[in-house]
């Protein structure tokens, strides 16, 4: 998995690519929690356009990041989910808890 970070004013965009699984999810978790807990960024956007696969460890990292965002009154927005990523969030009964947008423009504006 590859992770790139872009900074806009008061917004961080995290571009993830590849598979988010047991092997790779700790790094994504670390990056996201740092944005919320240490840097206190009010809006973190996770670009999943190039993510092919997410397993339960990946979902757990997303859930923990969402909890951190709620605790700190920040927003955590996902966009670019493919059918597999959507399916795994549905299986997890978490799809409705996340703020999900179609594309980056919507994620930044909404």
């Amino acid at each position: 998995m590859q992770i790139d970070i872009r900074k806009l004013e008061q917004i961080t965009i995290v571009d993830a690519a590849g598979d988010i699984d047991y092997s790779t999810s700790p790094e994504l978790r670390r990056v996201l929690l740092r944005e919320f807990r240490e840097l206190k960024i009010p809006r973190v956007v996770l670009n999943l356009t190039s993510v092919r696969y997410v397993d339960s460890a990946g979902v757990a990292s997303l859930l923990e990041s969402l909890k951190a965002s709620r605790d700190l009154k920040s927003r955590f927005i996902l966009y670019g989910l493919n059918a597999k990523v959507t399916q795994v969030l549905q299986l997890s009964k978490l799809l409705t808890l996340f703020e999900i947008r179609e594309n980056e423009e919507q994620a930044l504006k909404s």
Binding site: D19, S56, L63, R70, L91, K93
Partner: protein, 146 residues
């Protein structure tokens, strides 16, 4: 297929089994469900049975078999995973059904077993001769049965 308990093999297995499931005629969605179940089963072996040790052995076998689903005979894919690790806590393999619930009540753990149970038609576990054996079965689509 004989593998080492290194988490980096997970993506290799996913690639190989995706192709197998395609050849057997699984839809893209069912293919993903099978891959997810197998991936979670292997992750559980690495995490719990082998406690993160990376060089232990995991055997995975695949077989096409006849099974019954909804009263009709169907062919099915059987996947059996064997490991020599610590005994599995059987209670952990039978989690309560997952419910839609507020975020405050959601815990990050336990999803892997939920995926295995939800995605496969049959899930059986046995401990025999000091080894864990997990058997997963998923029926093939009717039109594509061989």
């Amino acid at each position: 297929m004989e593998l080492r308990s290194n988490p980096e093999v997970l993506c290799v297995v996913r690639g190989a089994v995706t192709r197998l499931a395609e050849l057997l005629g699984f839809s893209e969605s069912d293919n993903h469900l099978v891959i997810l179940a197998l991936d979670e089963a292997m992750t559980n072996i690495i995490r719990h049975a082998y406690q993160g040790q990376r060089e232990r052995r995991i055997e995975v076998t695949f077989r096409l078999l006849s099974a019954a689903r909804d009263g009709a005979p169907r062919q099915a894919l059987e996947i059996v995973l064997r490991d020599d690790g610590l005994p599995v806590n059987v209670k952990r393999l039978q989690p309560p059904p997952l419910q839609e619930s507020p975020i405050e009540e959601r815990k990050p753990g336990g999803l892997g077993v939920h995926f295995i149970r939800e995605n496969m038609d049959k899930v059986e576990f046995r401990r025999r001769d000091g080894r864990n054996l997990l058997r997963l079965v998923k029926a093939l689509p009717i039109a594509e049965s061989h």
